[in-house]
Structures are given as C-alpha cells and as structure tokens.
C-alpha cells in the first residue's frame, strides 16, 4: 500500500527536493564558498584613483567657473522635496499660496506678511495645475486658514495624466510618502545648491544640454513642446525671483522664453486615435468636472471656517493674446467665481495692478513682484474681509 507521502507526492507533484537528498552536483554548486573570490584586475589602482580624483576635481571646478562666467549663480532648484518641506510648515490657520508659476514669481512674501499679518507659505509650483494641492488642503481636517489661489486657465483645467497634473501630483505624493532618506538627501542637496552654480538641471546638465541640440524633428511628429530654460532663483522659502539676465529689457533670454510659451500654451492637436468631436466633448466634460471638483474643495474649506481668494496674475504680449483667445475670461474666470462664490482679483480690473510688463510675457521681474505684491495686498485684505468695504 503506498504511503501517505508518496500518494501526496504523486497527486500534487511536489518538487523532489522534499523527498530526496541532493546530488553531489547540487552540493558543490557554485564551488566551495570559501574559495570564491572575485578577481581583481592587476593595475596600479591607487595611482589611478588619485589621478581620477584630481581630474574630476579640476573638471568640476572648471565647469563651475564656466557656469559662473555665463552668469549662473548658486540657487536652489525647485523639486518635490522642497515643496514637501514647505507643505509641512502649513499650520491650521496658515496663509497658503497655491497654483502655478505666476503665483510663485509674482508674490513677495515680505509684502504679504506686512499686509496680511502672517508670513504666507509658498506652495505654488511652476508648470503645475492647482487642483491636487487645493484638494489636499480641503481634505486636511486641521486646516482652516486662508488660500490665495492663482488662476491660469490652461493649467487650471489641465486634465488627469497631463504634465501639469503629474507635476502637481508628484509633489503631493512626495509630501505624503517622503522617506527619511529623501528628507536627508534634500537637506544635503540644499546645502550643495546654495554653493554650487552649475547645479541647474534645466540648462547645465547632460539632459539639459542634449535638449538644446538643434536637431530638426520628423515632419508630423507629435513631439512635446520644449520647456523654458533656467530663468529664476529660489530660496529656502520657495520664493522665486526672475533671473536678472531675463529681466533685462529686450534680453535674448526673455525673447527665447516668449517663443517657448506660445507652443507650450497652445492646446495640442487632438489625438489621431480619438474622433475630434468625441475628444472635444471629453475636454468639455473635463472642464465642467474641474469646476465641480474645485467648488467641492472650496466648500469643504469654507465649512471649516477657511477662506479662499482666486487671483489672476499679470501676463502680457503674445501670451496674453493667446490665453485670452483660447480661454476667454467669460468661459473660465467668471464661471469659477460664480460656482465657488469665492472672491477673485483679476489684475486687469484694477489700474494699479495693470501697468506691469512681463519681460518674457508670463512673469514679473523680482523688483516688480515686490511692487505688485504691495499693491495687491489691499485687494486681498478686502477680498478676505480684513478691511471694511468702502
């Protein structure tokens, strides 16, 4: 009569390992461990290491000097870890700035602190859509502070999966899941970036330089538009200031960036694999959903006693024309304020906010951002109920 084990084995066809001793071949697999030693190629390794170290130090120094000769100076690079650091500073009653690069460049924290009584926390992120950060604050049950929310229609309505949405979500995800290792790397990175000028991923990295190669693309290729080169400095509070080289009137850099904004802000052609009418209908649905989601988030914040004000920051030149044409105020700004019942400040409604020129059409210079912030403060005070209406 077969044993229970052999029956079991036959039925389930379990690996034989469970039932027999390993063969001699298996036993000596890989050779006796103690005899295993990696070969070390014979070479004067100490001398090689010394020479490599010297060469790398010299090359890095030369690269740093070259970067500085081009006008680059040490500054922080914006990334999700720096954003996370700012997000963690948010207290229940904080004033928080969220949105895109216009709120990032155009707001002076000192002026806002003077006028609003608290130092705001800068959470606006270049090239991102605002909804993930707004929803995160709405879901933060402790938060009942004040939100100053920038509005740039092309970014505000960016659909899920688009680069502005991915960028915003990346920062948010990091703020929820940052590991101790990432935190330490960020602290170390800050200290490096504050002293080294060539740490500019957009311009002076291998990828940045490869991106600048003037190689024409295939006709009809749907390649992503280029992003602007480095043109801002940033401090530990995430206060961005336009680089002087870009702020100079008629600068080559500003002109180059102007020509980058146009394709970047022009809606891409509908995908070839979705009929145009269906695609346009989906875009319309997406916009309505964004209105509804934002309204829901605003209501949540308001229900806890929080406040929100939307701000349309200045733009100019060809970019202003393009934005006004693609997403006119009547179809974007006005419905937003109607649905959310939130106050809004549209810069062109006020002469004192309208006279600013954006050198590269999208952002204010560092100097103008201070003046603009000073002039914006009374409007914010009014919108937030800090002043009695005249």
């Amino acid at each position: 009569m077969p044993s229970f084990i052999s029956n079991f084995k036959q039925r389930l066809r379990l690996p034989r390992m469970f039932f027999r001793k390993p063969t001699r071949e298996e036993q000596i697999h890989g050779g006796p461990p103690l005899e295993f030693e990696r070969p070390i190629p014979p070479a004067p390794w100490r001398g090689i290491a010394v020479v490599i170290t010297i060469v790398v130090i010299v090359a890095t120094t030369l690269w740093e000097l070259y970067a500085r000769s081009l006008g680059y100076a040490p500054t922080l690079n914006d990334n999700e870890d720096l954003w996370t650091k700012a997000r963690r500073k948010v207290q229940p009653e904080s004033i928080v700035i969220i949105g895109d690069s216009r709120a990032w460049f155009d707001v002076d924290l000192d002026e806002f602190q003077k006028g609003l009584g608290k130092r705001p926390i800068q959470l606006a992120m270049a090239g991102s859509t605002v909804y993930p950060a707004l929803a995160d604050l709405a879901d933060d049950k402790n938060f009942h502070g004040t939100i100053i929310c920038s509005f740039v229609p092309m970014l505000f309505f960016a659909p899920p999966g688009s680069p502005p949405m991915e960028r915003a979500e990346k920062g948010l995800k990091r703020s929820h899941n940052q590991t101790p290792a990432q935190l330490i790397s960020e602290e170390l990175g800050i200290r490096l970036e504050e002293h080294v000028a060539f740490l500019k991923p957009d311009d002076l990295s291998l990828e940045g330089l490869l991106n600048q190669l003037p190689i024409p693309n295939r006709p009809g290729a749907r390649v992503p538009p280029r992003f602007p080169p480095y043109f801002e400095t940033e401090d530990r509070e995430r206060r961005a200031r336009m680089w002087e080289k870009c702020a100079e009137p008629g600068s080559e850099l500003a002109k180059r960036i102007q020509q980058i904004w146009i394709p970047l802000f022009t809606p891409p052609p509908p995908p070839s694999y979705i009929p145009q009418d269906i695609f346009m209908a989906k875009i319309g649905e997406g916009i309505q959903k964004r209105f509804a989601d934002v309204t829901g988030a605003v209501e949540k914040i308001r229900a806890r006693g929080g406040k929100i004000v939307f701000v349309r920051f200045p733009n100019s030149g060809g970019l202003k024309e393009l934005e006004d044409k693609i997403m006119p105020r009547q179809k974007s700004w006005d419905p937003l304020l109607q649905m959310t019942h939130a106050p809004g400040i549209y810069y062109s409604d006020y002469p004192e906010l309208s006279g600013f020129d954006c050198p590269e059409w999208s952002h204010l210079t560092a100097g103008d951002s201070v003046e603009f912030s000073k002039r914006l403060v009374p409007h914010l005070q009014k919108a937030l109920g800090m002043l009695a209406a005249p």
Binding site: M17, E26, I52, T179, S185, L192
Partner: protein, 473 residues
C-alpha cells in the same frame, strides 16, 4: 536609501571609514548590521522590524532543521520556513492581485463580489531578502550548509546593505563563510570596488535614467498607435534601460561589498550577446536563474526526465520567475514567453545542433540577434502596464500602424540608436570573457581616462535620484 543619492554618499563614507578603523571583527560585524538596518529603515522604519522578524524566524527554523534527525521532522520544519516566507511575500506582494483574480473568477459563475482594496505598502526589496533568507533553510535541508550559531551573522547575511534590496540574490551559503574570518584591507581590492561602484552609477544615472528612460516611458504611456520606428525605439530604449538600471545596481552592490572585503558573485554577464535563451539566462540575473534552477528546476526533475516533462518544468519555472517579478499577468506572460523560448530552443537543438553550419560565425551572430529580438518582444509584456498597451505596442512594432503617430524626437531616436549599438557591440566584444579580463587588457592611462569620464559624467548629469526598477520587485 538609493545608491544614487546624496544620503548614500554620506552614509557609505561614514560606514566604510568606521568599518576599517575598528579592529574587532565582532564590532565590525555589529556595525554592518546596524548600517544595513539604517540603510533599509531609511525607506520605511517599520519594515525593518518585518525584515528582522522573518530573518529571526528562518534562523530558528534553520536550527530546527539542523537538529532534527527524523527526515519527516526536517521536512516539516522546511515546509514551515517555505510557508512563512512565501506567505509573507504573498500577503505583501500578491494580496490585492489574488483578491482581484478571485473577484474575476467568481464573477464568471455569476457571483458579484467586491473585495476590499487592501492598502498594502510593499516593503522594498521583499522578493530579494525573502530569497536570501529562504536559501538558508533550503540549503540546510539539502545538507549543503550547517546552521550558523550566530543570529547576528545570519542577520547580516540576509540584510547586508549592498545587496539587500535589489540583489544580487546572495545565498546564505555563499555569504556566511565570509563572516568567519575578518577580511584584510587590500588597496587594490578597495579601489577596484570603488571603480565598480563608479561604473554602476554611470550605467544607472547617465545611461539608464538620462539617455533612455524618458523615451521608453513616453512610448509605453502613449495612448495611441505608433509607427514601427517609434514602437521599436521605445522597446529598445527599455531593453537598454532595464539592463543598465539593474546591472548598474548589481555592479554597485558588488563594488560596495568589495570595499568592505566581501565577495559577491556576478549577476550579469553580457546578456545581450547571448546565443539562445539558455545562454541568455546564464547571463541575465544570474543569481535568480541559478536560484530557480537549484531550488525549483532540478528538484522538479530538471532535464533528467522525459522531454515533455522537461518542457513542462521549464515553463513552470519561468512562469514562477515571471510572477516573482510582479503581481500582474503581464509578468506571467513575460515568464511564459521565456519558458516557451527555452522549450523551442531545445527542440531546435535536437534537429539542428549537429548540422555542419550550426557552429558557423554567421549562424552564431544570426542566432544572437534573433535571441535579442525575442528578448525585446518579451520585454514589451514586462514593461506594459496592461495587455492593451502590450498588444498595441506589438502591433506597432510589426507594422500594424503604418499611419500611427511619431512621438519621439530625432535626438531621442539617435540617442537610443547609439546607446543600443554601443551596448550590443560591447556585449559581443566581451561575451567570451569576464569584465575583469577586459579591464586587465587596458593600459592604465585608458582605465584612468574612462574612469575620469564616468565619474565626471555622474556629477555633470545631475541625476534626480530615480529609484531602481528592481526595487519594486
């Protein structure tokens, strides 16, 4: 902690400096245990406790297997170890996958079941350290390893930080003997280790992340049909990315271990110059393929059984190998494809191995390129997020979308072409020898020049600490 992060640079310098300045061997081993747990806990501290608990359990179970005289008792303890390890892996890695498939299955018979989504965070590197630990009890059971008396040594064998989270899969039997006697600091070994770390970081930061990953990501995430050129370019970019990413990690791990006086075996040996799929698996992720061979394929009967059973064994092993990589059917298909490739190769060998032209240079090169092509086709399933993406990609690759979209820039196409040609060229040049032999033939000035370019390129590239692909497995 990632090798390509500033945190690791500081951590590594401190650990190496302390390690070589301490004289006591036990103190050094204690330092390595502490460092390894800090390295692992830097991701998620609670998971370090999980790592320790599975390690401690296997240590105890290993002793029970070693002590037991009765073969049935030994078997029971081994089964307990296998079940403990695999259930841990199953829960964390396959929990949601199993629930989803159960939901699908019961829906076939008309039962609507909505399983709760388990919010399970996958402990990084769990597939690797489970296998490190499992190899210990398996080898004790097989009689090829004696249980160690030192829990600390076993903890270090499982958690040794260079290989902890993404391999190579180092068997306890290969590592524990190295803990018997303290290694001496050998200058050439130390600097060779640093050279390997530089090469590994260069592969990861410069080649994988900067030159290839962006194009691969865009192609595989594009929702529409692509022309053949862009489809192939995306697949070739991924084939290069995954090699440089994973081989780069392995080389870093081997180099870091060497600087601490430990020897880890090769994990890659120029796989894209493989001639045939058996050859490929002798060159790709060697520590996994030998693990599967020794603990699964051979116990199943290996090639000492009837041809049909042998074919079935190959498919079973590759099926499980695919599943090991991830909880998705796309990984299973990737594994099954490789299983089928291995079976087809055996059949071809039966018919053509003795033909006079079988060993000619032309046949070898043609077979090598056919192998590479088939491996790339399998990569489609490995990288695609689902079967819709995979089938769209395959259709594009074989001319199914002549009027599809072109989404890669000319610069990206050139990058992929140049890097892929260089990668395959290097692999074919070095396929018959070890990397060390190639380096040995180079004059010192050439090693210095190449090392300088790589080290400067790492700094110049300004990598963004992207995680290694294999961390998710």
């Amino acid at each position: 902690m990632l090798f390509n992060s500033l945190t690791f640079v500081v951590f590594y310098v401190v650990v190496v400096a302390l390690y070589w300045s301490i004289t006591g061997w036990n103190a050094r081993k204690n330092l390595l245990v502490a460092a390894s747990y800090i390295f692992y806990g830097a991701w998620n501290p609670p998971f370090a406790a999980l790592l320790f608990s599975t390690t401690a359990m296997d240590f105890w179970l290993g002793r029970q297997i070693g002590k037991a005289k009765d073969p049935r008792a030994r078997k029971r303890w081994l089964v307990a170890s296998v079940c403990m390890n695999l259930s841990m892996l199953g829960f964390f890695k396959y929990g949601n996958f199993l629930l989803q498939n159960f939901q699908w299955l019961v829906a076939r018979v008309g039962i609507i079941y909505q399983p709760p989504h388990l919010d399970i965070l996958l402990p990084v590197g769990i597939s690797f350290y489970t296998f490190h630990s499992l190899s210990y009890t398996l080898d004790i059971y097989r009689g090829v390893l004696q249980p160690t008396r030192s829990l600390r040594d076993f903890v270090l064998a499982v958690s040794f930080f260079p290989q902890l989270v993404a391999g190579p899969i180092v068997r306890a039997g290969d590592f524990l003997p190295q803990l018997l006697h303290p290694p001496r600091l050998k200058t050439n070994q130390f600097f060779w280790g640093l050279a390997l770390m530089t090469l590994g970081l260069f592969e990861k930061i410069v080649l994988a992340d900067t030159l290839l990953s962006g194009s691969a990501d865009r192609v595989f995430s594009y929702a529409g049909p692509l022309v053949a050129l862009d489809s192939w370019a995306g697949v070739l970019a991924f084939a290069g990315q995954i090699f440089f990413d994973f081989a780069g990690y392995s080389i870093c791990a081997i180099g870091a271990a060497l600087t601490l006086g430990f020897h880890l075996k090769d994990n890659f040996r120029f796989p894209y110059a493989a001639i045939g799929f058996s050859d490929f698996w002798r060159r790709w992720h060697i520590s996994l393929s030998t693990f599967l061979r020794d603990y699964l394929y051979i116990p199943l009967g290996g090639n000492q059984v009837a041809p049909f059973r042998m074919a079935l064994n190959l498919v079973i092993v590759m099926f499980l190998g695919g599943l090991w990589h991830g909880a998705a059917w796309t990984f299973v298909v990737w594994g099954l494809l490789h299983g089928s490739y291995l079976v087809i190769e055996r059949v071809i060998r039966i018919f053509f191995e003795n033909k006079p032209w079988a060993g000619s240079p032309f046949t070898r090169v043609a077979s090598g390129f056919a192998t590479y092509g088939a491996v790339c086709i399998a990569w489609v399933f490995f990288r695609a997020s689902d079967f819709t993406v995979a089938s769209r990609m395959l259709s594009g690759m074989f001319g199914g979308h002549p009027s599809g979209d072109m989404i890669l820039t000319t610069r990206e196409l050139l990058q992929i072409g140049i890097v892929t040609a260089a990668l395959i060229g290097m692999h074919w040049t070095m396929r018959e020898e070890s990397f060390e032999t190639t380096v040995m033939r180079l004059p010192a000035w050439a090693i210095t020049a190449i090392g300088s370019v790589m080290a400067f390129a790492i700094i110049f590239t300004q990598g963004t600490s992207n995680a290694f692909i294999y961390f998710q497995f």
